[in-house]
């Protein structure tokens, strides 16, 4: 039914815009060049944007998945009562359906639609199928998400509803979601890399940065249990977890973006998405619907305040601009050490603010806990602090942990440079 209504919408669009359709049939591909004349350039711009509908559809789906996930986590922390049809689940499912159907439509059009242009801008999949790389990654993600559903359901029946993010079926689900989001990003990236006008490049570059930021949001959600709360920021575990995951993505995205200050923009965008979600969630009154209730919350419990990623990202941009495309190993080491140094330099003090009464307000959303938590002094204490045998803070243990984090960040940055270099050339 959804497919039928999609097709109807496309047919309607086709009859209303007969001249647009040839470009539509070659989605993600045609970015016509400048003719030099202003009027034709603006017409070309309109045409290009219409041709980009799959990018917008899939980036929107990618956003809905991330927002749905943040909402779902808040739902579990606030309301608890959960079904397959809870509103955040519906948002995620609709997003997956939109992404999956859009991609399936494009894959079928490109494979069997006799459109030479579209085919020339696609990659081959199992001999008969053609579609842009991002579309295949998206489809893979959708299938992964679909597979995780019965597995997750079985898991809940077998081992109980997991009240944690990191479980085997959840990892499959998150990998599926990430597939759709990386697919969206690759679509924007290929369009950016094919764009011939500065204006198109810049616009598509912004879409790429946004879709990359959504991927960063997903990665920080996966990190939430180990590196989400300010209470964790005085332990090396926080720095190890962030270093193992974030530099890989930030560096890869920065290297493949054609914008100026790419990592900073992506990090700022990530922070904006999470902060907006914090503000929005707190506006909705809610009450726990399951027992036992140890903390009678009255509004949706927001996500923890985002990591201050703009600072290490700014350092990344400066270092990467200086280094250029040479000495990648040396650059990786510099990026790795800088990441951990900037992270601890900022978050060590930021944690003190976030645990202080000054942060317990609407803007920062600090000190809001699940309905299942027994509130106690642990709320304002540091967790997982590196301790010596006597239970005091051990600087050598902390330093060793930070050293390990720097190694993780260096390896991640190196992989990110390599991955980013590959992505910067993606044109299909």
């Amino acid at each position: 039914m959804v497919r039928a209504s999609c097709q109807r919408a496309i047919e309607n669009f086709r009859s209303a815009n007969p001249t647009e359709f040839p470009t539509m049939a070659a989605p993600l591909t045609a970015i016509p060049g400048h003719t030099g004349r202003i009027d034709s350039a603006s017409r070309a711009g309109t045409r290009t944007m219409a041709a980009e509908w799959p990018i917008y559809a899939i980036v929107a789906a990618s956003t809905c998945i991330a927002v749905g996930l943040i909402w779902d986590i808040s739902w579990h922390r606030t309301i608890g009562r959960d079904t397959f049809w809870s509103p955040p689940h519906l948002l995620e499912q609709i997003a997956a359906v939109v992404a999956g159907l859009s991609c399936a439509w494009i894959a079928l059009r490109t494979s069997f639609g006799n459109d030479r242009v579209a085919e020339s801008r696609s990659v081959r999949f199992w001999k008969f199928f053609h579609a842009p790389l991002g579309i295949w990654v998206c489809i893979w993600g959708t299938v992964m998400m679909i597979t995780s559903a019965p597995f997750d359901n079985w898991w809940h029946n077998a081992y109980g509803l997991d009240v944690k993010i990191i479980s085997p079926p959840h990892i499959i689900l998150l990998m599926g979601m990430l597939g759709i989001q990386i697919g969206a990003m690759l679509l924007a990236l290929a369009a950016q890399n094919r764009a011939t006008s500065e204006r198109d490049r810049s616009r598509l570059g912004m879409i790429f940065a946004y879709s990359a930021a959504v991927v960063v949001v997903m990665m920080t959600i996966m990190l939430m249990e180990d590196a989400g709360f300010a209470n964790e920021m005085h332990g090396s575990g926080f720095y190890k977890a962030t270093a193992a995951v974030l530099p890989l993505f930030l560096v890869a995205f920065a290297r493949s973006s054609r914008l100026s200050w790419p990592a900073t923009r992506i990090a700022a965008c990530y922070m904006a998405i999470v902060i907006l979600s914090i503000w929005a969630l707190q506006l909705f009154p809610a009450q726990p619907m399951l027992a036992p209730i140890y903390n009678a919350v009255t509004s949706m419990v927001p996500h923890p305040f985002p990591l201050l990623l703009v600072f290490p990202a700014l350092a990344f941009d400066i270092l990467m601009r200086r280094a250029g495309a040479t000495h990648d190993w040396l650059l990786s080491a510099a990026l790795g050490v800088t990441f951990v140094a900037v992270m601890i330099g900022i978050h060590w003090y930021w944690a003190e603010f976030m645990l202080s009464p000054a942060a317990r307000n609407f803007v920062f959303g600090a000190d809001q806990w699940d309905y299942t938590e027994r509130l106690g002094p642990w709320r304002y204490e540091y967790w997982n602090v590196d301790k010596d045998a006597r239970g005091n803070l051990s600087v050598p243990t902390l330093a060793a942990g930070l050293g390990m984090a720097a190694i993780f960040a260096t390896v991640g940055s190196r992989a990110g440079l390599w991955w980013g270099k590959g992505m910067s050339r993606v044109k299909r």
Binding site: T29, G80, R81, D82, V117, S120, R121, V123, R124, F125, W126, L133, W136, V137, I139, W140, V143, M144, I146, T147, P150, F151, W154, H156, N157, A158, Y159, G160, L161, V163, S167, P168, I171, A190, R194, Q287, P288, M289, L290, A291, P292, I293, Y294, N295, A296, Y371, T372, R374, G422, R425, V426, K427, R428
Partner: protein
Amino acid sequence: MKTAFRIFGVALLYMIAAAHVGSPDTWFEGKAGAYPVTVQIMPAGVVPGVARVFVRIAGDQPERVTVQANRFDATGGAPPPEVAPRVEGEAGLFAGNLWIMTGGSNSVTVEVTGARGRGSAVVPMVASATRRLEMDVPMGIGLAAMGILLFAGLVTIMGAAVRESTLPPGEAAGTASHRRARNAMLATTVVAAALVFGGWTWWNAEDEGFVDSMFKPLKSQASVRTGPSGAVLHLAIVDSPWVMRGDSAWLSRNRASAWTPLMQDHGKLMHLFLVRNDLSAFAHLHPSSVDSVSFLADLPTLPAGQYRVFADIVHESGFTQTMVSSLNLPTPAAPISKTAATGVFGVAGGVAASASGASQDDSWLAGPVDKQATTATLAGGIAVTWNRPPGPILAGVPAPLQFTVTDRDGGPAQLEQYLGMPGHSVVARDDGSVFVHLHPVGTISMASQMAFAMREPGDTVRGRLGKRIAAAAMPDMAHDSVTSNIVSFPYAFPKPGNYRVWVQVKHQGAILTAAFHATVEDGAERAR
């Protein structure tokens, strides 16, 4: 290999359940205000999980039935109650679903609203993981197929990315691109295989952790000792978290939860049952506590042999559990008296407490049981008749456990309260996999029900609530007479098999025990 077995296995393995053995459902029969209700709670078997709550109401039907779960120590109030809709086609039956989020002592409050006003009943239930689910074959095959498709898809995508994605539109991939793509696909295969293997290992570890976390009752050991007045049964709770429960450092080191103290249920700290492995002998004893780990009871003269020992205890949190151990009884010193009429061995204690503190409420019975008999004639000509309709008894379907007690003349026997109840019943399966101690109020412990009713916010001192409950329970313990000579027990046999049902009532100060055989057949899908 183990995981492969898990994927392709089909069995639901029922393990030991919390409050009783192999009988996970909680039953309650009583009043919710003016409404007589029978409540059956079917737990999910995992925590957190969804429990099904069935409420049967006799007489004129109420407008609304709600159910609500809570835990004994919740400090932030209760969630809103859930409406339990009427079950179509079954008069007086309402069914609701309740998420039970935390293991341990929970309660379910049933509220009934209708023409007779509004009334509620609190049913204590113990939530714990009791079974491990195996994946069925079609599901395993389906998931494996999807897994292979995804694996192949990932390898193909990586190949396509390296081969073509970076080429300008229209350009064909050269030999070098093809070679690089093959290498990339090989590398992806290796990495993805390593990830799948890692996931497999992780799953195994999660599964082992789950099995470890499944509820196991406190470990206990039973032995026979010689006391001043003869053989004495000694039961010791040997589980470390119980023995060390006062040592908070030990508990935190071993990540063990601190058990709350025991409290009396029906005036007794422990109800201990000896069941001979062949079901031919049974005793219901009430050991007295020497200290918090040792319990002693005078051993009745039972036939020698291997016995299963089931010891019911109630914690102050309302948590109930049945400790299981075994005992080899030697040939008794004194011969067992025999009553001629039924071939059933002798009855009741009725003697004053002895040096070891044996209770006059102890009772026992030994001897073969006629599998066809529905009437058992006991000492003094008292007859206990099982009012069972013709037809088989089905597993999962409410069982007709209703008994009429008549005196020598066939008239209604005047019954008395035995340990605060008109009657007690014990149901055991011949392999020991099911054991349950029933009352007319169901499987619940009155003490844990009182714990929920009488709990006050100030009950932070361990043992205080238990004392209050014991004091409040005293009036009930008086030897009141019982108005009816019919006793019934709400229950459904959990699985097919051969069972023994013992029924105990009190008449003229003597405790009478009757034994019946029950063959339980498979009830299709726990139809109701």
